[in-house]
C-alpha cells in the first residue's frame, strides 16, 4: 500500500464582521474521507463540482493542511514530518492540473519550466538539462521544444509539458486533477493514452480526479464516488459500473449522455441540486435528493457498509436489502 488516508477532513471557516473575526459558518469541503491506494494502482475520485474531490487531492499532497485525519505515504506519517523531511517526501508526490498552461511563467522557456522542480531540489544545471532532454521525447514532444515558450504550444502540448514537469523528480505518486477536461475532444484521448503509458513504464501510482465517467472507466482500477465531502461508494471499476449500489452513483451514471442515438437508457431520477457544503443536510447528506429516502435517512448518517469484495456503499437502503 502506498497511500492510506484516514478520516481526512478540511473545514473552512466563513467569516463575517468588519474585521472578518466572526465565524458565521463552516464549509465542510472534505468531511471524513478514508481510503487506500496500492502501489501502481489508479484510484479515481469522481463527483460533481464542490464535492471535495480536488481538496482531497491537495490534502494528500499536503498542499492543504487537514483539519483532521491523517495521511500515510509509503508508511511515513505525513503529519509527523519536520519541514525538511516533508519537502523531501513531497518530491515523491506531484500534481498535474486541469489547465497546466495557466500555471506556467510565460517568460520561462519550456526547458526551464520542466527543470524548475529539479533546480529547487538542488540538482546541478547539467543534470537538469540532460533530464529535460530525456523527458521531452517521453511525453511526445521533441528535444528542440526546450528552447521555446509556452504560448507557442497548443493546449494538448502544454498539458504534455505539465506532465513532463510533474515527472522531472521521478515521483512515485501523481495526483491528476481533471487533466483532460480543458482539452479538445480529439486531443483528450492522446493525453489519456500518454498518462496510461507513463504509468506502465514507471510504475506510477495515480489519484485521478475527474467528473467524466467515461474517462474514469478507461483509466481507473478502482473508483470512489464523492458527494458533499464524503465518499458515498467505492469499488473496483468493473463492479461500480456494472452494479452501482448507491442511489447517487446510479444517478450519476445514468445522467451521462448516450454513446449513440436511440440507445435505451433508464434515467435514475435526481431531484433538485447539490446542497451547499456550508449547510450539510442532516442524516444522509443525499437524502433530500434521493428518490428512495426513508425515515432513517433523515436522521442517521450512514457509514460505508461493506458489500463484499472491496465494494462499500454508504446507504441505509443498500445495507438493509443486502
Amino acid at each position: 500500500m502506498l497511500i492510506r488516508a484516514d478520516n481526512l477532513a478540511k473545514h473552512y471557516p466563513v467569516t463575517t464582521g468588519f474585521f472578518g473575526n466572526k465565524v458565521a459558518a463552516t464549509v465542510r469541503a472534505v468531511d471524513g474521507v478514508s481510503f487506500t491506494i496500492e502501489r501502481g494502482e489508479t484510484l479515481a475520485l469522481v463527483g460533481e463540482s464542490g464535492c471535495g474531490k480536488s481538496t482531497t487531492g491537495r490534502l494528500l499532497t499536503r498542499l492543504v493542511e487537514p483539519t483532521a485525519g491523517t495521511v500515510r505515504f509509503d508508511n511515513i506519517e505525513m503529519s509527523e514530518l519536520g519541514r525538511e523531511e516533508l519537502r523531501a517526501t513531497r518530491r515523491r508526490m506531484q500534481l498535474v492540473f486541469q489547465d497546466a498552461g495557466s500555471s506556467f511563467n510565460p517568460r520561462m522557456t519550456v526547458g526551464a519550466l520542466i527543470a524548475e522542480p529539479m533546480h529547487l531540489a538542488g540538482a546541478p544545471a547539467a543534470a537538469c538539462k540532460a533530464r529535460v532532454q530525456e523527458l521531452l521525447p517521453l511525453v511526445g514532444l521533441s528535444a528542440e521544444h526546450a528552447e521555446r515558450y509556452p504560448h507557442e504550444f497548443s493546449g494538448g502540448q502544454r498539458q504534455r509539458i505539465g506532465i513532463a514537469r510533474a515527472l522531472a523528480l521521478r515521483p512515485d505518486f501523481v495526483v491528476c486533477d481533471e487533466p483532460v477536461s480543458a482539452l479538445d475532444v480529439s486531443v483528450q484521448a492522446q493525453v489519456i493514452n500518454l498518462l496510461t503509458r507513463l504509468q506502465r513504464e514507471f510504475g506510477l501510482t495515480y489519484l485521478f480526479i475527474s467528473h467524466d465517467l467515461r474517462v474514469v472507466r478507461h483509466v481507473a482500477d478502482r473508483v470512489a464516488v464523492m458527494y458533499l465531502g464524503r465518499i458515498v461508494e467505492i469499488a473496483d471499476k468493473a463492479t461500480l459500473y456494472k452494479s452501482p449500489q448507491h442511489p447517487y452513483t446510479k444517478a450519476l451514471l445514468s445522467a451521462v449522455p448516450a454513446h449513440r442515438p436511440g440507445a435505451v437508457r433508464t434515467r435514475t431520477e435526481v431531484v433538485g441540486e447539490v446542497a451547499s457544503a456550508r449547510n450539510v443536510p442532516s442524516g444522509c447528506r443525499y437524502h433530500p435528493r434521493c428518490p428512495y429516502a426513508m425515515e432513517i435517512c433523515k436522521t442517521q448518517d450512514p457509514e460505508l457498509y461493506d458489500l463484499g469484495g472491496s465494494h462499500r456503499s454508504a446507504c441505509h437502503l443498500v445495507n438493509a436489502t443486502h
Partner: protein, 323 residues
C-alpha cells in the same frame, strides 16, 4: 416538405487580428427545419459559435461577413436595418449561452430581467409582465417562482441560472432557439435535467433549435440532424443516426472512436486522432484535416474536398467518397 425556417448559404466570416486576417467560417451552408434540432459539433476554433453570432448579426468589430446570405422565415436578414434586426433578436430568434452568469446583470433581480423583454418587446403592462414572468419560471420548472423573481443571479446555482436564461429566451415565443454549449458549464446530473427540459419545451412550443456543442453525447441525445465542423468548414452533414452508424469523414470517425465507452468493451489504448487542431493562420493546403488523417493520400494535400453525397441527406467532404 415544409420550407426551412432558417436557411444559410455560403456564409464566410473573416477576422482581422494583430496577427493577420483569417476566415473563421468558410462557405458554410445549412438549413434548420421547423420544429427540428440541428446540432453543430466542433472543437474550439472550428467556427461553430462564430456561425451563430453571424446569424444574429452580433459579431465583434474585428469580424466581417465577407459573403453569404441568411434567410429566416422567408425574409433576408441581411436586408434588415438594425432596428428591424433588433425585433428579430429575442422575439423570433433567441439565444442561450454556456455561462449564464456573464449574460445576467448582477445588480438587477431575476424578475426585472425576465420582465424587461416582455415589456419592451411584447409591450405588456407591468402587472401582466409579472404574471407572464412567473408563468415562464414555472414553465422551466423553477420551484416557487415568486421567490426567485426577487433574488439576484449570484444567489442561484448554475443550473437555476441556466433555467432563468432559458425562461428569458422563451419569453417572446421565439421560432428558433440558438443554444451555444448550454450545458457545458453544468454538472452531469444538472446537464441531464436541462437537456430534458429543452427537449420538452421544444415539443410543446414547436420551436426549432440550433444546438452548438463539442459533446457528441449531447448531440446523440438531442439532435435530429448534425453538422460537423472542422477549421471553419462543414466536413459532414447527416441525420443523427447515420452519423453515428456510418461516419463519412475521417474526423467524425476519429471523434466517435476516441470517446471512451460507458458499457461496451474498453480498448486498452484509446484510438486517438493524432496531431493538433490546425491553426487558422496556417491552414494546411487541400483538405485541412489531411495532416491528421489516417487515410491520407497524395491528392488530399492538393485538392480541397467539397461535400459529396453518401446517402439521402448525408454528405461528407472527403476525397475518398466517389461521387
Amino acid at each position: 416538405m415544409s420550407p426551412p425556417l432558417l436557411s444559410v448559404r455560403n456564409l464566410t466570416v473573416a477576422f482581422d487580428t494583430r496577427r493577420g486576417t483569417f476566415d473563421a467560417v468558410r462557405e458554410v451552408s445549412f438549413d434548420v427545419k421547423p420544429g427540428k434540432t440541428l446540432g453543430v459539433v466542433g472543437e474550439s476554433g472550428s467556427g461553430k459559435s462564430v456561425t451563430a453570432m453571424a446569424l444574429m448579426q452580433l459579431l465583434p468589430d474585428s469580424a466581417t461577413v465577407t459573403s453569404g446570405s441568411v434567410h429566416f422565415a422567408g425574409r433576408d436578414l441581411g436586408s434588415l436595418d438594425e432596428r428591424e434586426m433588433q425585433k428579430v433578436r429575442g422575439r423570433e430568434i433567441a439565444m442561450v449561452f454556456q455561462d449564464p452568469l456573464s449574460s445576467l446583470n448582477p445588480i438587477l433581480t431575476v424578475g426585472h430581467q425576465i420582465m424587461e423583454p416582455l415589456r419592451l418587446q411584447m409591450g405588456l403592462a407591468k402587472a401582466a409582465a409579472r404574471a407572464r414572468a412567473e408563468e415562464l419560471l414555472a414553465l422551466v420548472r423553477i420551484p416557487s417562482p415568486a421567490a426567485i423573481m426577487r433574488s439576484y443571479p449570484h444567489e442561484l446555482s448554475g443550473g437555476m441560472r441556466q433555467r432563468v436564461m432559458i425562461a428569458i429566451a422563451l419569453s417572446c415565443g421565439p421560432k428558433l432557439l440558438i443554444a451555444d454549449e448550454p450545458t457545458t458549464a453544468l454538472d452531469v446530473t444538472t446537464q441531464a435535467q436541462i437537456l430534458e427540459l429543452l427537449r420538452d419545451l421544444q415539443e410543446r412550443l414547436h420551436m426549432s433549435v440550433l444546438l452548438i456543442t463539442h459533446d457528441l453525447g449531447v448531440v446523440a441525445e438531442f439532435a435530429d440532424e448534425v453538422l460537423v465542423m472542422y477549421a471553419g468548414r462543414i466536413v459532414e452533414r447527416s441525420p443523427v443516426a447515420a452519423l453515428f452508424d456510418r461516419p463519412g469523414h475521417p474526423y467524425t470517425e476519429g471523434l466517435l472512436h476516441s470517446m471512451p465507452p460507458l458499457e461496451d468493451e474498453d480498448p486498452e489504448v484509446l484510438p486517438a486522432i493524432e496531431g493538433n487542431v490546425a491553426s487558422p493562420f496556417e491552414l494546411p493546403a487541400g483538405c485541412a484535416f489531411h495532416p491528421r488523417c489516417p487515410y491520407v493520400f497524395d491528392a488530399c494535400s492538393k485538392v480541397a474536398p467539397v461535400l459529396a453525397e453518401m446517402s439521402a441527406g448525408h454528405d461528407a467532404a472527403c476525397l475518398r467518397i466517389k461521387c
